[in-house]
């Protein structure tokens, strides 16, 4: 459900960018999203186009690029991917997703909480790096 608020953030940011750069239209915008965010791309696209309607951004093509995440332990050197991370994720902490009333991990909303919600699957350390796969950013604008 955070797709709408994230799409809103992208649209507003791009509108500010267009104003500051003196752009009256954009042909294409590429948004890179980290897989930890678990975006439903259909909902994100729907939200983006809906929120762009009637603005200078209307007509811009949205290209979504998914970025893989991987984790590397600084204690024992183990490496793991997001699929493994999702399996070992602590279920102790939750956010209530409305209106469905589904309990979700905060990791999908706040990926930088990884060190709070996860431990290295090999040695149990919290001292690991999360490499990529957590951001939402505009990676390309074609005017």
């Amino acid at each position: 459900m955070h797709e709408w608020s994230l799409a809103d953030a992208v649209v507003r940011s791009l509108l500010g960018f267009m104003a500051s750069e003196g752009l009256t239209s954009i042909r294409e915008v590429e948004v890179t999203w980290g897989e930890i965010l678990e975006l439903d791309t259909e909902i994100f696209e729907e939200a983006f186009y809906e929120l762009s309607r009637g603005t200078p951004l209307e007509g811009a093509k949205l290209v979504l690029r998914k970025e893989k995440a991987y984790f590397k332990c600084n204690s024992c050197g183990a490496e793991w991917d997001f699929k493994t991370a999702d399996e070992i994720l602590s279920r102790e902490f939750e956010i209530m997703e409305e209106p469905a009333g589904v309990r979700e991990s905060p990791l999908h909303f706040l990926p930088d909480l990884a060190r709070t919600l996860l431990r290295c699957p090999k040695c149990g350390s919290r001292d690991f790096d999360l490499i990529g796969g957590k951001d939402l950013r505009v990676s390309k604008v074609v005017a």
Binding site: M1, S13, G16, F17, F93, I95, E98, R103, T116, K134
Partner: protein, 257 residues
Amino acid sequence: MRAPDVLQDEALRRLSRAERLLMVASGKGGVGKSLISISLASTLSEMGRKVGLLDLDVHGPSIPQVFRSERLIRATKHGLEPLKIDGLELMSLGYIVRGSPVPLGGEDKMSLLKMMVALTNWSNLDYLVVDLPPGTGDEMLLAIRALKRHPRSGAVLVTLPSMLSLSVVRRALDLLRGEGVRVLGIVENMAYIRCGGDTVRPFGSLDYASLGVNVLGSLPLDPAVEEAIASGKPPHKASREVMEAISAVASRIEVMM
């Protein structure tokens, strides 16, 4: 062309939505900054203002210790909804991670702060009070960016009347002024103890004139504050003296903002 920073833009926009943005900071830890933030937010709310309180302390969030809740933070189409307790809107990582550590630094911490602020869906507030952790790190930098672009904003610095605390306040003051942030004044906390009929100043007295900043008020070191927190009572109502001192500070802020 440099691509926009989506999350920072949204974080600053959401912080700017409140009519007034009030940052509460300190140089040193342990000076009672969170208690002042909480007490100011509660007092402004009791004065009829619609107030939100944002805890930007990711490592040691204090707000959930005072405004306790077992409720889960809700995510809606508009983002993460602040908890509503005692007439305040509250957001703190402590409501999400509870008592667990948040080992983060540098870019990761800034990224977490931006995402949390970018997703928090405040209503139309008269005041958003931002409680910062001690020091002049990432949290203060993000707050400064928001304060600089908000037409009705200001910072309050909390200190003890001790030389050590003051020297750190001076650095924070230099940073804020250098960045063009309006500093409303200093709140002197734990300044004195009432003991029988006497007033004792355990840290002595300081002359703040050299800082060129208003002293918005002085609060006593009162064991009733700790007792209030332990019993779930609002800390600003711990004693008549604390309540009057905080009310006076809040009234001054109202006039200034």
